[in-house]
């Protein structure tokens, strides 16, 4: 919210939805090595290619890729700010790194790219990350590796045909080392998912494709963690996290149904949010 106020806009509701999911993944669930990246992200390293030897991905914030550690891929790249905040809270990135957010020449981009902290793919087109994660899981099985593959998905991505192709291949190859946390916030760019192009009954659809679906309260860290500890029945697991896009900031409710991107339309509105922030969320008030 601090950033939304500072830049007069941001993917704020995504943070309200995903805070507990990412916190539980980073702090409790995933087995990642210590960050191998600079605490304060370096400048844009150029794009990958035959002449860019110095290029590294933002996956370094999840540690060295080795045979035993888990892998984590966040698919909806517009959740970047939420992911950066999670990296900071998990001690993988310095808070100062966020000062580069959406600044020219920075890797801390608004829509996360492969070089952005915490990313190691180009997820911005949606749906492609899950397919890649499936390929990674198959490759790791071929290599005899045990590590799990975690994916964070947004529910809107179930409108993409490729997502269902990916589910078919997850089921066909029984890639049960893949576990997908889905932010089921029922929101998308044009408004409520049920009015744009419904994806319900999501759990039944997933199960009918041969994967396992489990619905949990997306704001309950214990429930989120319990899902990860379920024994495998041979199917890839989709944890459907029911979330509230206004969680923690009730002021946002007045913006329904348009919550995808928060932009203040007047100085008065911005000041109202700023006041609410100072009274409820600012670090000073937390210390009181």
């Amino acid at each position: 919210m601090e950033h939304t106020l500072a830049s007069n806009g941001g993917y704020l509701s995504q943070a309200c939805c995903a805070a507990e999911i990412l916190a539980t993944l980073y702090l409790k669930i995933m087995r990642l090595g210590p960050s191998a990246a600079a605490a304060i992200p370096g400048p844009f390293p150029g794009v990958p290619g035959p002449h860019n030897e110095a290029y590294v991905t933002g996956g370094q914030y999840h540690g060295i890729i080795d045979r035993t550690s888990d892998r984590f891929y966040l698919s909806p790249a517009h959740y970047a700010l939420v992911l950066y905040a999670a990296l900071i809270e998990a001690g993988r990135m310095a808070p100062e790194g966020l000062a580069q957010f959406n600044k020219d020449g920075s890797t801390v981009e608004m829509i996360g790219a492969e070089h952005s902290p915490g990313f190691s793919m180009m997820g911005g087109a949606l749906a492609q990350t899950l397919s890649q994660a499936a390929g990674i899981a198959l490759a790791r099985r071929l290599k005899g590796e045990e590590g799990r593959v975690w994916v964070f998905l947004s529910d809107g991505e179930f409108q993409e045909g490729q997502t269902w192709e990916a589910l078919a291949s997850l089921a066909f190859y029984r890639l049960d080392r893949v576990t997908v946390y889905v932010d089921v916030n029922g929101q998308q760019c044009d408004g409520e998912t049920k009015n744009v192009m419904t994806t319900e009954p999501l759990g039944k659809r997933i199960e009918s494709f041969g994967c396992k679906a489990l619905t949990v309260d997306g704001h309950d860290p214990v429930a989120l963690n319990n899902a990860a500890e379920l024994p495998s029945d041979g199917r890839a697991l989709f944890v459907l996290c029911q979330t509230d896009p206004c969680r923690g900031i009730p002021l946002l409710n007045e913006r329904r149904p348009k919550l995808h991107y928060v932009r203040f339309t007047s100085a008065e509105e911005r000041e109202r949010y700023a006041t609410w922030y100072r009274e409820h969320l600012a670090p000073e008030s937390a210390e009181d």
Partner: protein
């Protein structure tokens, strides 16, 4: 001329024997793209992905990220049309070693417009990080796999299947970025690729007999399109340059040569033989080549246009031409 059948099928099996990192992905066209033999020989390295090319391409990117070299096989249209975003965002951006074998180039299939890859070179060479190769004969099919593997990052191969001629001697393998000079001359430079090279060879000897010297260059690397032999070829002709491709003239070989001419300030007339900004339809290869002006007779007519006179060459003259494998006349090292 020697005609061979299913060259890729057996070659891939032999070649991949000692390459455990190479895996093959299929989208329900296993027999049609000559990988059934690979599946039988190495079932643990063959992955059926169903009729789902978008997932297949991104899935391959995932395999590549973990150290494998996926060889995607399907009809070309299903790679560059059906899954272009996946080719771009999952594979090409990240410079991953995913090798894509696209079959049924241009009018080589009676399957009609949905199956004919008429703009694949244009699309794929516009994708950053992508290398684009094209095969024209058995020798190139047999020898392209090593260059495909040793080329860093993603590679797209415009691939032939079924019955293919041997145009080039076995001892002159495919070499990336090195065109083949098939005849030398100063009147007209002819640059051809894919199946159009064989077709052009039917006409070039007849044209030469009429006293015109043709500098004929065969291209099998569309991108990167740089070579001293190409620059020499387009610089030398008295009358002009003709390109001939089994592809729309927009964005393919004709455009590659146009860019080469313009960027080097070479003011030669350029005639582009190919599909003239049109879709084709289903039919036999000879019928389609004739209908869309991609055959030897079309070349003769365009040459006649350049010299402003009849060469007196008939369809019967061309039909009787017997093509033999030709050694490249110019040593690449010398160019």
């Amino acid at each position: 001329m020697e005609i061979l059948t299913k060259v890729h099928a057996g070659n891939l099996v032999r070649w991949a024997k000692d390459k455990p990192q190479v895996v093959v992905l299929s989208a329900d066209l296993t027999g049609s793209v000559e990988i059934a033999e690979f599946q039988a020989a190495y079932p643990d390295r063959f992955f059926s992905m169903g009729i789902a090319e978008q997932n297949m391409v991104s899935f391959a990117a995932g395999l590549a990220r973990e150290g494998f070299v996926p060889f995607i096989h399907t009809f070309a249209v299903f790679i560059y049309r059906q899954a272009l975003n996946q080719v771009t965002s999952s594979v090409a951006y990240s410079f991953l070693p995913v090798k894509m074998f696209g079959f049924l180039p241009g009018i080589t299939t009676p399957g009609g417009a949905t199956h004919q890859a008429i703009d694949d070179v244009a699309v794929m060479r516009a994708v950053p990080n992508m290398t684009v190769f094209e095969t024209a004969d058995a020798t190139e099919i047999e020898s392209i796999l090593d260059p495909v593997l040793s080329t860093s990052g993603p590679v797209y191969v415009r691939m032939l299947r079924g019955e293919v001629p041997r145009l080039f001697p076995r001892e002159e393998p495919f070499r990336p970025g090195v065109p083949r000079v098939l005849s030398m001359g100063d009147d007209i430079t002819l640059i051809t690729a894919g199946i159009c090279t064989e077709e052009a060879m039917r006409a070039t000897s007849a044209i030469a007999k009429r006293g015109l010297s043709i500098h004929h260059v065969h291209v099998s690397t569309h991108k990167p399109f740089v070579s001293p032999a190409l620059l020499d070829a387009v610089s030398r002709p008295r009358l002009g340059v003709i390109t001939m491709e089994n592809h729309t003239v927009i964005g393919g070989l004709g455009s590659e040569v146009a860019e080469l001419l313009a960027e080097n300030g070479i003011g030669k007339k350029l005639i582009r033989i190919g599909l003239q900004d049109t879709f084709a339809h289903g039919g036999s290869r000879p019928y389609l080549m004739k209908k869309y002006g991609l055959d030897a007779m079309a070349l003769v007519q365009r040459v006649e246009g350049l010299v402003r006179g009849s060469l007196g060459i008939s369809e019967a003259d061309l039909a009787s031409v017997r093509i033999e494998a030709v050694h490249s006349l110019a040593k690449a090292e010398a160019l």
